[in-house]
Amino acid sequence: MATTQPIHHRELAPQEMLGRSRIWTLVMGLAVIGLVLGIVSYARELTGGMVVTGMRDVGIGGGATWGLYVAFLIYMMGVSFAGITIAAMIRLLKLEQLRPVGRIAEILSVVAVVLGGLAIIVDLGQPLRGLVNLFRYARPQSPFFGTFTLVLAGYGFASLVYLYLGSRRDAAVLAERPGRLQWLHRFVASGYSDTPEERERHDRASFWLAVGIVPLLVVASSTLGFVFGLQIGRPGWFSALQAPAFVTLAGVSGVGLVIVLAALVRHAEHRSDVLTPAVFAWLGKLMLGLLFVYVYFMAVELVTATYAGSEADADITAALLTGTYAPIFWTSVAFLVVPLGLLVYAALAKRWSIGMLTAVSVLVNLGALGKRYLIVVPSQTHGTLLPYGEGSYTPALVEYGVVLGLVALGVLMIGAFMKALPVIELQREEEVGQDA
């Protein structure tokens, strides 16, 4: 046999590692159910029309024309942004400590892009036309184009390239071993054989790609923020802070999801060897920084909205602080502020417990989703500039179903990847040597 190379126990093929994980099977099972629910829900939307959602026209329709889907889309775009940023930073700044989560970030980014894209499609009244016309009649001047084309293409392309470049090497390693997925690994490796020269070229390519990606990221994320931030017709959105705030919160939620996934992998694949507490501490500090900035933005926004806002802004603020949206608003704020407190405590005490970090991450993600929802919805129901009375929006079951389906799809994608390729970069020999 060609395999003379000793196989480090940490370099078991992914499926072998997962083979022992019941959690994985359970999660995948649930995800399949979720996906089916999602498909059924979407089928209802397609056949019955979007009247089956809770969305309605702004104005005399008394509703919100963008709802949960768009909130989810923005959230996902944020996650994807954060994922790809982390991946790029690792390479650009040579953050070796974070290397073990690099691939997690890349996967997250790709999955988020896909989910975001799908969220757009499910939000279209004419989805098939959308697929055709968005390209056929693309108007780059439209901020929508920014969200859709730039973000999707930019993030998606960059993440995919990363993922591919990285996985290629691992695949090359794995391809040399027999197994059920050998064909796949061969295919992914596609000729790459991990020679030092190749490795050298690989590293250079990754670096320059990162250099190229950064401005693209900033532009794309800012447009996304501007989709909302520059909308004069929508009080509550016309805020210069939107873009930076958007990017920051994206970072918070992205880092959070990386933490959650890392914790899961650590548990499911028993990788406490690479996913060390130090890695988590690093991520925790990163999140602390981002969260601190975001909470600052939030405070500024609140103050300006309460004191300097237009009457329409004031109405929205009232709806947020004390009105219809107060429960979601304060819950979201709590989900962001309490974690900040916990993180500050952890920093001071220098104790970064993985459990706490995971909990914090889940919380900030729920908070972020809440905040996305609150950017999208209240300004439609409570921020009309003409005296249409108050509107209201409650997502319908169909919408929850579709979003659940999307999340499930994301989980399935990640699960499949875990099964097929190492979710943590295989360590290079010399590194292994160093490590040992």
Binding site: M50, V58, I60, T65, G125, N133, S142, L385, L386, Y388
Partner: protein, 245 residues
């Protein structure tokens, strides 16, 4: 060249909503789709109460945010001032609706053919009526309009597209005034060509009390108001319509 504009005289408007109905019948909009809305507003407390009416079609903005945001160019501005929607191209993203400060866009949430008020599928209706949904279906909406040759007039075309006031492009092509302006019992809606110095619409726009809705939005509307005043945030809407989509 022709550049259309509308002036609404709030000193005359009776708040009667004939314009709303004329628009509906002319444009065959389905149930729940009102392209014209007439606010009935109330301010102050008893006995110092004041009331006002405010008809609100699409403002056909010269600097239209809805046009800017449309990702596929389905919403577009014409040289004659009209802001139109190509319902064959619209993908139903509803971004225009979100971007419009005036709340004039209407999405077809359900299948419009099945949402024309009553079930018109009646075998006892005469031959020439049967199959026209609604029975007052206006054939002008089946054809293309303007130099751009796009289908832009009328409502209720397809599920999942956005529609709105068209300034009655089909009527303008026939040399008629928009349906709302024609029907207004007190001629509160004046419509005309700002590029024609002789058109009475210009004298109206030049009135000292003329104003635009939401000037701060920078949209440069082609619908102007005279008489009355801009509604304030303290105005309460009474007698709201109840749309069922």
């Amino acid at each position: 060249m022709t550049r259309y504009a509308m002036v609404i005289d709030l000193d005359r408007c009776q708040g009667c909503r004939a314009c709303v109905e004329a628009c509906k019948v002319e444009n065959n909009t389905p149930q729940g789709s009102l392209w014209m809305h007439v606010f009935r507003l109330e301010e102050g407390t008893y006995p110092s109460t004041t009331m006002s009416f405010l008809p609100r079609p699409c403002q056909h903005c010269d600097n239209a945010p809805c046009v800017k945001v449309c990702p596929v160019g389905a919403r577009y501005k014409r040289e004659d001032g009209l802001v139109l929607t190509d319902f064959d191209r619209c993908i139903g993203c509803r971004y225009c609706e979100l971007a419009c400060p005036y709340g004039v866009n209407v999405f077809n949430w359900s299948d419009p053919a099945e949402h024309q008020y009553l079930d018109w599928d009646d075998p006892d209706l005469p031959d020439e009526v049967r199959g026209s949904v609604p029975p007052w279906h206006n054939p002008d909406h089946d054809v293309v309009h303007g130099d751009e040759q796009r289908r832009t007039s009328g409502g209720g075309h397809a599920k999942g597209v956005v529609e709105k006031c068209t300034f009655c492009v089909q009527r303008l092509e026939r040399g008629e005034l928009p349906a709302c302006a024609t029907t207004c019992p007190v001629n509160a809606i004046i419509f005309g060509d700002t590029d024609d110095p002789g058109d009475s619409v210009n004298a109206e726009i030049a009135r000292g009390d003329a104003f635009d809705l939401l000037p701060e939005a920078g949209t440069k509307p082609r619908v102007h108001y005279v008489g009355g005043k801009h509604p304030t945030r303290s105005a309460r809407e009474i007698e709201r319509v109840e749309v069922e989509v």
